[in-house]
Amino acid sequence: MTAMVSSAGRRRSMDVQKIILLAILVGIFVFLSLAAPNFFAIRNFTNILMQVSVIVMIASAANLLMITGNFDLSVGSVLAFCAIMHAYLTKQGMPIWASILACVAIAALWGVFNGVMVGVLNVTPVIATIATMYAARGFAYLIARWDGGANITAGLPQNFAEFGRTMLFGQVPIIILFMVVVFAVFFFIERKTPLGRFSYAIGGNLSAARLSGINVVGVIVALYVLVGALAGLCGIIQVSRVGAAFPNLGQGLEFDVIVAIVLGGTSMMGGEGSLVGMLLGALVVGLAANGLNLFGVQYFYQTITYGVILIGAVLIDLAVHRKA
């Protein structure tokens, strides 16, 4: 019950949790390959990766953020906002590269906004990011409206739409490449850079971090900016994949992200967690969804399964600890 025991226990749990997730993953995998039609096919694996890619990309940054003990509920809205913004700008004839830069910059600004509210003004992350969530979504719809509709679909440069669906070597959708790159970058950040180290420190003991002269505010703002920027980037990628921009893009994304992270063993209190765990978590969810769709199961049952997996994974984890 003292700090020592519990924290020690949690550290051990990290790896255990990863193993459990891996087990679950393999379990679902084997089951589906046996039971589900056309599950076991290269194209389906790229398909699954493609579907978790957005989540993984954003969660890569959000994972570090949660390690500091904060989180961001506004990613979905920021994604939508940038999607619309990008569509709007390109439609007005702005060159694509310029528009991409502009939108990512704006997304980063949303991040700054979150970071300042949380880091400087000490607004609790829930409220701060929910507020941003409302605001960004609202503006997304407004921009679409100013453009004269509920969404921006017509008038986008077509070649850009094609770009998002490019297949590398005719096999791998380009978005998977993006995912791998982003994941690698953050894996590197987590292990190799002061930013990563400081995130653990801040989550582990805020006041010690302050007294050690770590620039707490800087780190938190930086992470919020990274999350925001990635959300924006994903928004642009989605536009290019879907071939149109809708303000309701990325609805509920914030949850998929947090679920992936938490399933991966990052505690919401911060101080511990790992990118690999997050990836496993995301894959578990993605795999389950894919399988259920292959079976053509009504989404009623899909939601139930989602919940069962969530609770089940944690329960197994706890059960294992009771023994250990």
Partner: protein, 356 residues
């Protein structure tokens, strides 16, 4: 400290207030004689969908032009509680009539009764309430959906004789009336042409292009032989198209389906741009925006002026115009968009862009 508090409070409230006034203002001008003759309310299921926004705009425009009426538009945000308090809100604002679209048929009935107690007549639209006690405006979606099914099947079989139609459908998650008027009717149409047609799957696309794309990808994984896809609205149809193109399908050669035929619903600009693009496989849609809005407005005014009995169920049916690559011209589509979605651009250019 107290000072800081007070200052912050007043300041931020003031800012918020200004924003409100700013956007509240512009709705209240341009009426004959400075003030509207009638004030009516219109509750939208959700402003998210282009279709519903379109109807809202039409009602406001038409109401102003035709009856010098002010239309207060409220968004139900797809939530029961919001919808109900929207009704209460309109009653409070003493509107003279209300038009309501909400899929919870029980709620619409309750709303009608509540408004009636306060002497406010109400017209429902698109989804019929559980009790038929008030006028209702209904686009004839059923026949058009069926017709789309038939056309789609015909075109597919023409291009691929002997290949059975395998249909995949994206819906909103089992709404009976949607089943009857859209998805069911569409598949019926397919079956009329190809009795052996099979329904591969029917999943919820959450009326989101993004989600529909993912789900369609899985569906194509399950059954690559899918060759007809119907999206419960154009957003979902576009999602299906995106999915097909992602896996290297979604192709046509001058209107000859190579991989599959996709149909949507609502007939909005984005759909049209694809329909008249000879290379994409999104080829059919139907919808009624302006006529629906006009019917709603006329019914409301009719009830106010006593020409229509607000207690009697009378269904005003409006045609849901069907558009497809083969049987309707781009000019018709252009005109439809201008009239219904207040479209100012040129469909030809859009298509040209899309076809690039």
């Amino acid at each position: 400290m107290k000072k800081i508090l007070l200052a912050a409070l007043i300041l931020s409230v003031a800012v918020a207030a200004l924003v409100l006034v700013g956007c509240a203002k512009k709705t209240d001008e341009g009426y004959v004689g400075g003030k509207p003759t009638y004030v009516v309310g219109h509750i939208v299921y959700t402003m998210e969908a282009q279709y519903h926004q379109g109807i809202a705009k039409q009602i406001v425009e038409y109401g102003k032009k035709m009856y010098n009426a002010k239309v207060i538009v409220l968004d139900a945000q797809g939530k029961d509680e919001v919808a109900m308090s929207a009704v209460e809100n309109l009653i409070q604002q003493k509107v003279q009539a209300i038009s309501l679209h909400y899929p919870n048929t029980g709620l619409t009935t309750a709303a009608i009764k509540m408004a009636r107690e306060k002497g406010i007549p109400m017209v429902t639209t698109l989804i019929r309430p559980s009790e038929r006690i008030a006028p209702h405006v209904q686009p004839l979606e059923g026949p058009s959906s069926q017709m789309m099914g038939e056309v789609a099947a015909k075109q597919w079989l023409a291009a691929h004789p002997g290949v059975t139609c395998r249909v995949f459908i994206l819906d909103f998650g089992k709404f009976p009336q949607i089943e009857e008027m859209r998805t069911g009717a569409f598949f019926q149409g397919v079956k009329n042409v190809d009795p052996k047609a099979v329904l591969v799957g029917q999943l919820n696309g959450f009326s989101s292009t993004e989600k529909s794309m993912q789900i369609t990808l899985d569906a194509l994984q399950k059954e690559p032989r899918i060759n007809i896809i119907f999206g419960g609205n154009d957003e979902m149809g576009l999602g299906a198209l995106a999915a097909c193109q992602q896996v290297g399908r979604g192709k046509m050669k001058d209107g000859v389906p190579l991989t599959e035929v996709i149909a949507g619903l609502d007939a909005n600009i984005s759909a049209m741009a694809q329909i008249y693009n000879p290379n994409s496989s999104f080829k059919l849609t139907h919808g009624a925006v302006r006529d629906n809005a006009i019917a709603e407005m006329d019914t409301m005014i009719g009830m106010i002026t006593g020409k229509i009995d607000p207690k009697k169920y009378a269904e005003t049916q409006v045609l849901s115009r069907e558009f497809d690559y083969w049987n309707s011209t781009m000019e018709e589509a252009q005109r439809f968009l201008e009239v219904n979605y207040l479209f100012t651009g040129s469909l030809k250019d859009e298509v040209a862009k899309a076809a690039k």
